[in-house]
């Protein structure tokens, strides 16, 4: 009888603990991604011209990011940057957020514009200057 009661107790304790244990890793895994999403969101919404890049404006750490900075400098755009190399969660999450597999990524007025290839194409066509002027004036 006593043995049975102990067994029942153990079963009850397992029933209580197991779901908790199962739930915890999910929460731990989800949190940094949500936090990264929220950070990206505020970067994009708070800055009219926002560039996610590898390295900084002064010291870009990839040729494509460098080109993106050079283009924005040539336009004379007032832009903010986020160095994805300094935050691994943002580095991974920005690809999901934008549904775009590469970095740099440009946002103007909260909208995804493209990567460095598209930036160059638009710059050469005079479209990027126009888009940024319109955003700056709004």
């Amino acid at each position: 009888m006593r043995v049975l009661r102990v067994a029942a107790l153990v079963a009850a304790a397992n029933a209580f603990v197991a779901p908790l244990a199962a739930r915890r890793p999910v929460a731990v895994r989800g949190a940094p991604e949500d936090a990264a999403d929220a950070k990206i969101d505020s970067f994009v919404k708070d800055n009219k011209v926002m560039l996610f890049m590898k390295g900084t404006k002064i010291f870009p750490q990839c040729g494509f990011s460098n080109m993106a900075v050079q283009i924005l400098n040539a336009i004379g755009a007032d832009f903010e940057t986020c160095d994805v190399l300094s935050d691994d969660f943002i580095r991974q999450q920005i690809k999901v957020y934008s549904d775009w597999p590469t970095i740099p990524q440009l946002y103007v007025d909260g909208e995804f514009v493209g990567g460095s290839d598209i930036m160059l194409e638009m710059y050469q066509a005079g479209e990027l200057q126009e888009m940024i002027e319109v955003a700056a004036a709004s």
């Binding site: 597999p101 590469t102 514009v113 493209g114 990567g115 290839d117 598209i118 194409e121």
Partner: protein
């Protein structure tokens, strides 16, 4: 007559012992070009290894009738969708898309 028979046998022997013809494995560039042709009906497509040999950077040009009516971001996304796994492994991927001339 005898010589002919011998040479015929030699031919048969050679055929039997020669290794089976193996289709050369395509390069990653060629494999990506083939995928783009298959999945996007790309008419003009080149994928070039610009890494200097390590295979971490590719430059692509894709011309597809599927791009008609799409903005450049959507055109790039179509290509990225086809090469999703490959691009994830690369350091850099640079792309130019175009609609076939005449469309």
């Amino acid at each position: 007559m005898l010589r002919l028979a011998v040479s015929r046998n030699a031919g048969a022997l050679l055929r039997r012992t020669a290794p089976p013809r193996v289709r050369l494995l395509s390069t990653p560039s060629e494999a990506m070009e083939a995928k783009l042709r298959d999945e996007l009906d790309a008419v003009n497509v080149t994928v070039e290894d610009v890494s200097g040999g390590c295979g971490a950077m590719y430059k692509a040009y894709v011309e597809s009738p599927r791009f008609v009516g799409l903005g450049v971001v959507k055109q790039h996304k179509l290509v990225q969708g086809v090469l999703k796994a490959e691009i994830a492994e690369m350091h850099g991927f640079t792309l130019k898309t175009a609609k076939p001339r005449g469309d």
